[in-house]
Each structure stands twice: as C-alpha cells, then as structure tokens.
C-alpha cells in the first residue's frame, strides 16, 4: 500500500506560510498544556527490556531502547548501547512496539452507550462517504484511555461497519488533548459494508446484497466522470469516490460471508481500486481468491460472537490467512453493547494460542497492522527514526495474568498504571 498517497490528505503544516511570533507562542502554549496532562515529562528515556521485540529480525535479549525528542534514537543489546547521562531509565520484562488497533470505532463511540456518545453511525442515508471521522473523534473518551492502558498507541477508527458506506475512517495516536494533537492520518479509508449489517428494512435500499453491489458500483461509475468538466459544482460525496478511483484512498470493505468477500474483490477488480478486507469471518473458505487479489485482511476480533453472518468465524482465521501468505491484522471491532470495546492485546493473545507463533501474533497488532494502514514508515516496529511508541509488560504480553506497566506515545510516558 502506498503510504505517500494516504498521507496526501493529512493536516500538513503549510510550509510556505511564515511563522509569526503569535503563532509560535500559541504553539508553545499548546505544547505546555499537553505536557501538563502527561504523567511526567522526560524528553529522553532509556528503556531496558529483558526481551525487546523490535519486529525487525529476532527479539533482543537484554536490550535497550533510547528515546530522544519523541523518536527512537537507538535500539540494540545492552552491551552495545551506552545510556547517556540524564536519560530517565525505565525497565520491563518485555518491550514491544506500541500496539496498533487496525479497526475500531472508539473515540466516535463512547463507553456510556448513550445517544450523545454514539457518533459512529449516521442513519439518514446509506451512502455518506463525506462524513469525516475527525469531525467526531473525542480524544478524551474513556475508552481511548482504556486502550492506552493496555499498550495501544495507534488506532484506526471511524464510522461503523453498519451501513453500505457509513463514512470515513482516521488514524489517531491514543494520546492528545485535541483531535488535532491525536490525529495521524485524517482520512485513512472509506468504510463500506456488504452483507446483513448494512441491509435496510421497510422497502428502503439497499434491501438485498445484489442491491448493495449495484448501489456501490453506481457511485463509483458516477465518480469516474467527476472533475472532468471544470464547471461542475463541488460534491462532497462524489469527491470521495473520485479519490478512491484515483487510488488515493482505499475502501475498507467489511464483508463476513464468503459471497460478500468475493463481491468486494469483484468490485475492486472492476474499478481497479485499492481495498482492505475487514471482518472476513468466512475468509478461511476463500483463501486462494483473497491471496491472488493481493489485498490484506483486517480480521474480526478473535473473541467476537459467532452468529448470523459471523456464524463461521474461527479462532484460526488469522493463522490460516497468514499461512496462505496474506497480510493480516487484528481489530477490536465494533460492539453495540458489552463490552463496548475489545482490546487487541487480548485478541492477539487468543490467536497466539490458536495457530500463530508469538511473533506472528504480535505482528497482527504491530508491524503488519502498520503495513495495512500504510503507516509502517512511522510506527509498528522499534527502529531508529520511528515514532517512540512503545508498550512495556511485566511478563509474556499475551498471558492473561501479565500486566502492561507502561505505554509510551511519541516519546511520552502516557500510562504507567499496572493493567
């Protein structure tokens, strides 16, 4: 996946604008405010880990990670790295890259589950790609803090897999006072859902699977002519599908039944667009087709409930996809009741116990998730120059009885509660 293209839509500072004194003062004030809400500010941190899973090659025994200015300064064996004086030293049994939740609705969906904190689904129309996730994301949501406490540093969140085209998704770090502080990729993907979860009742469209495909194809066909004539008024909806056709943004297609997965692949081929398969309960029935499409899969949460269109989901889907050579990530998913969010650390633990090696299971919530989201140049592994996003544990991270003892986002210790 082409990361450059994904980043095109991000809030880059306008480099041609001259920085005024006022601007700098505001920035400094903002920075100070953010820092005040941190546990403690250490510009430079050295983390000693009995085992450091860099996700580059083998794990390092007795490793050290140096953090300077929010980035990883160096990583290696303790014998090879001298910790400079003045660095705050933290220790853990196991150090991993900050965990990545490849698909959630947290931040749009809140833990109270009341109308005012459920912003993940707008039901007025089945096709609304113009809905921007960052216009609804609450960085102060308790569920964001909850995930952060379990080592999750990056989330791909947005509109729910519950309408044909429910809206946009975004990528955020799990720390920040405002959405602008937290946002990583403002528009990551367009959320599309095929199958039961996006069917309408009472004579409204889409009322069938075939209608879903027809409506999605019609939108893409309409967008193919968009922008061809200069005098056509701007249309937010079509504009987004045009970006999809230009391969600037992928569709995140949630499809559980095998026929829905195949429909997604058929539409991707017809329009030569990029897609990421999501949910994919029956992916294990169509491994060859997914493999030859080259598209990655963000598989359903491992402990999701089996029923209806997810009746065939399996604890082994992730391992089967991996064995077939398909890039796979895990997700906390979308829950309408209890638990209001799952935790990818626990979901990955279940695949580590059901077919995947420890390293491959960890990859589903670190480097492979980063690759699918197109952010692996910044996060997903512990490497020099990457964002200093790290998780620390007092034992095997996947063991139920271990604890996350520290989470670092952009070089800041943002959680040190033993969870």
């Amino acid at each position: 996946m082409n990361n450059e293209k994904l980043i095109v839509n991000s809030f880059k500072p306008r480099t041609n604008a001259k920085l005024s004194v006022k601007h700098i003062a505001v920035c400094l004030l903002t920075l100070l405010t953010i820092h005040f809400s941190l546990l403690t500010v250490f510009p430079q941190i050295a983390i000693k880990g009995e085992t450091v899973w860099t996700m580059n090659g083998d794990a390092i025994k007795n490793g050290v990670v140096l953090i300077n200015n929010g980035k990883i300064e160096s990583v290696g064996a303790a014998t090879a790295i001298v910790i400079p004086s003045g660095y705050k030293i933290l220790s853990a049994k196991v150090v991993t890259p900050g965990l990545i939740d490849a698909h959630t609705v947290v931040g749009l969906a809140g833990y109270l589950n009341q109308p005012h904190d459920q912003m993940q689904l707008e039901t007025s129309s089945p096709i609304q790609p113009e809905l921007r996730a960052f216009d609804a994301y609450d960085p102060d949501e308790k569920l964001v803090e909850w995930l952060r406490g379990f080592g999750v540093t990056t989330i791909h969140t947005g509109h729910a897999p519950a309408a044909l085209v429910s809206g946009q998704t975004m990528i955020a770090k799990t720390f920040g006072k405002t959405v602008d502080d937290a946002v990583f990729v403002p528009t990551a993907m367009i959320a599309v859902t095929l199958g039961d979860a996006a069917l309408m009742q009472g004579g409204k469209s889409p009322g069938t699977r075939a209608k879903q495909a027809s409506m999605l194809r019609a939108e893409l066909i309409k967008a193919s002519a968009y922008g061809a004539k200069p005098d056509v008024p701007r249309d937010l909806k079509t504009e987004m599908f045009a970006k999809v056709l230009k391969r600037e943004i992928p569709l995140l297609i949630t499809a559980h039944r095998s026929q829905d997965i195949i429909t997604a692949l058929r539409i991707a081929k017809e329009f030569n667009i990029r897609i990421v398969l999501d949910g994919a309960s029956e992916a294990h029935l169509v491994l060859n087709e997914i493999k030859s499409s080259g598209f990655p899969v963000i598989v359903h949460s491992t402990m999701a409930r089996a029923g209806g269109e997810t009746e065939s989901l399996s604890l082994e889907t992730a391992s089967k996809l991996k064995a077939a050579g398909i890039t796979v990530a895990l997700q906390s998913g979308y829950e309408t009741y209890v638990p209001k969010t799952r935790v990818v650390l626990f979901e990955a633990a279940m695949v580590a116990a059901n077919g995947l090696s420890f390293r491959d299971a960890l990859a589903t919530i670190t480097i492979d998730a980063a690759k699918i989201l197109g952010i692996d140049n910044r996060v997903g592994s512990i490497a020099v120059g990457k964002d200093a996003d790290l998780a620390m544990f007092d034992g095997d991270p996947f063991e139920f009885t271990s604890h996350c003892i520290g989470t670092i986002v952009n070089g800041n210790l943002v959680s040190d509660a033993k969870r």
Binding site: L112, Q114, L143, G307, G308, K340, A349, M350, F400
Partner: protein, 439 residues
Amino acid sequence: MKKVIAGILALLAFCGISSAQESTVAFVNARIIPIIGVPIENGTLVLRGGKITAVGDSRNVQIPSGSIKIDAKGRTIMPGLVDSHSHIGEGAGADGSSPIQPDVRILDAINARSSSIQRAQSGGITTVNVMPGSGHLDSGQTLYLKLRDGNIIDDLLIYDGNRIAGGIKFANGTNSIRQGGGNFPGTRAKSVSLVREQFIKAQEYREKLFKAGDDKSKFPARDLAMESLVEVLDKKRVVHFHTHRHDDILSVLRLQKEFGFRVVLHHVSEAWKVADEIAKAGVPSSIIMIDSPGGKLETMDVSMTNGAALEKAGAFVGFHTDDSITDSRWFLRSAAMAVRFGMSREKALYGMTMANAKMLDLDSRIGSLEVGKDADFVILSGDPLSVYTHILETWVEGKKVFDRSDPKDYLIAVGGYGATNDRSVHIDCFDGDIEGGQR
C-alpha cells in the same frame, strides 16, 4: 406370583447397577487441582459409576485391578467448571405482560440440542445455571443443568429428591425499568415496592397453606406464581439477583433481610464500592469479567478489581459467563483476568468451581475433586490460568462429553464453517426494550 415379581425386580436392580458401574477408570501422573486441598503434582484420579472413588498423590492411591489406566502426564485435571449465570440454550422466560412472573420456567423453553450447550462443554463447563433475562423484576425460574450429552432437556436435569433443581431470577436497576411501560416500574423505589408487594402476598399464601395443614379442603386455590415464591420464602429456591449499582446492591440486601430468602448477587458491577457491606451481609456474589467498562450507564463504574475487592473484604465470590456476554468457551479466562487485577489464584479457581456449586446448593455433589462426588472434571494441556492452555477433555459423571482430538468437537471449540446451529443468538442477558437505559 410375588416371587416372580420379586425376581423381576431383583433382575432390574441388577441391570441398573451393572450399567451404572461400567468400568473403573484411573488417570495417573496428572497434575491435579482438587480445589478442596492443595494441588497434587503427581496425582491419580479414579472414577467408577460416574463418581470419584479415589483422588490423591500417585504414591498413595491404590488403583483397583482391572481398571483402565490413562496416563495423564503433562496434563492438569481440575473439577468441571460451574457457571452460575448463563443464557445458553436459546431460551427466554417472562414475556412483556408484567414485570413479575415467578410462574414462568426457563425449563419449558430450552433447546437441548443448541450448539451453545456444546460450546459450554468445550469450555469445560459441566454444571450451569441457565437463567431467563433481566428485563423484568422477576423473569421466572432458573434451571441448574448438568451438561451431559442429551437429546432433550430432561437428559440434563438435576434432581433434588423429586424437585427439579433451579433458582429464580430477579433484577433491579434500569433493565427492568420502563418509562411508560404499563405495569412496569418507572423508578427504583417503585421496583422495590412491587417486589415487596409480591412477597407479602406470598407470605399470606404461605400462611393459608400452613393453617390448612393436611386439610386439602382448606388449601388456597393453586397459584403458580405464589407456589414459586413460597419456595423462595421456604429457602428452597435461591434468588439470583441481577444488580449493578452500589445502591441497587444495597436494595437487594434490604429485601433479603425483610423476607429472609437466600440470595446470590449477580454481576455486582459496583461491588468494589460496597464490598464490606456485602461481606457483612454474608451474601455471595457472582461476578463477570468484561473487557471494557460501560456499554450502559449503570455499569460505567464497573471495575476489573471487583474480585480482589470482595476477596479482601472476606466476601464469597464466584464467576459467571452470562453467555453470550462472555463466551462459555473461554470461561477460565475470567478467573485469570481477576488474578490479573489482584485476586488470589486460589480464590479465583475456587470461584470457578466450588463457590458456584455452593451458590447452586450443589456443593455436596460437585465443585471439587473429592471421593464420593460426581466425576465431573476437565483435562487441561497446562495451567488453568494460561492463555496457551487448551481444554482437552470435559467429563460429566464419568462420561467424556468433549474431546478436542475429535474433529467435530474441535470445530465447536475453535469455530469455523458449521460450528453453530443456533436459531437465535442471545446477544445479552437483557430482554427489555431499552438498550443502555438510564443511570
């Protein structure tokens, strides 16, 4: 003629004994966690006729000659798990006509062939309290089941004399409150008042029965609801009370004190706020471990430390799945998560077995590996609290009901195409019409 009948009876009795006796099976070289007593590193478990006949250190246990010996080296054996609150079996209890329906039995609604029951077997659960929902103040009678391989519900029943074992489900808080819901309560105070009214009626009904003595002509007209509540007043039927908020928990304790029934607190999301009061009341709690807080307002303050807080206060703690709120297949994970958040390993494992057995009045038969108890146990590939451990076999009354090495059972445990045949998915324990509710 009498001799012939006596002969036939003797023959029948003999047949009965021989079929129940089967053979003696001995598991040797196992790590055994008996729950009552300390773990045994190299232990032997002997069973015959569906009962445990010996358990202990391999050096001390005499294995009867002719026994089938099974080497369980590297395996851990512990009692079958007891789930004190589940919704497996696709059943529903009370309907929308009124908030208190003690007459309704979940017995009359369960699909014994539901794959949810097989999933529970694969999760090591051997005894379960199947409950109707929490959308009523009282949604009806619950049912204690042994997860034998069965075709109809009768095959799974547990008898206490002639009585089918089970409790009764009550709920307070927002699930049973319905604004403008006809005869349903609109507030917490009304909820308590409606329940008190029914119990006072039941006390009067009971008094009439008492006064009638053996004179059937003086019996009050049969009333299914009253009969059920009289069993509650007589302490024969345990009240399983769904309750979340700390003030709701205290309301249950107040009702319990007034009417003297036996009660188990269920969910108890804010137990950490009133752990001392719960301990002082001597009332057991069955808790649930959920992966994140909230989902509805009255559970916003739920804590992963509830188990630890109740243990510290000296209260009696068990666990439940509330399947399908949490999946029966990884019930053991609840104990592990409670340990992660401060509970002791011993109390957590006790809470998966013996504590729940006591809550269901079945502790003389199940809940621990002791001589004379039912041969209900699980064979694990490793430590019960490890994520990497798989449940290899589940045995109920000396019969294997789940075997991970059998492809059909493996499919149930792991999932995949054809793993479930459930006609309805019971997403939550709440069967009311307001999701989330108010705080």
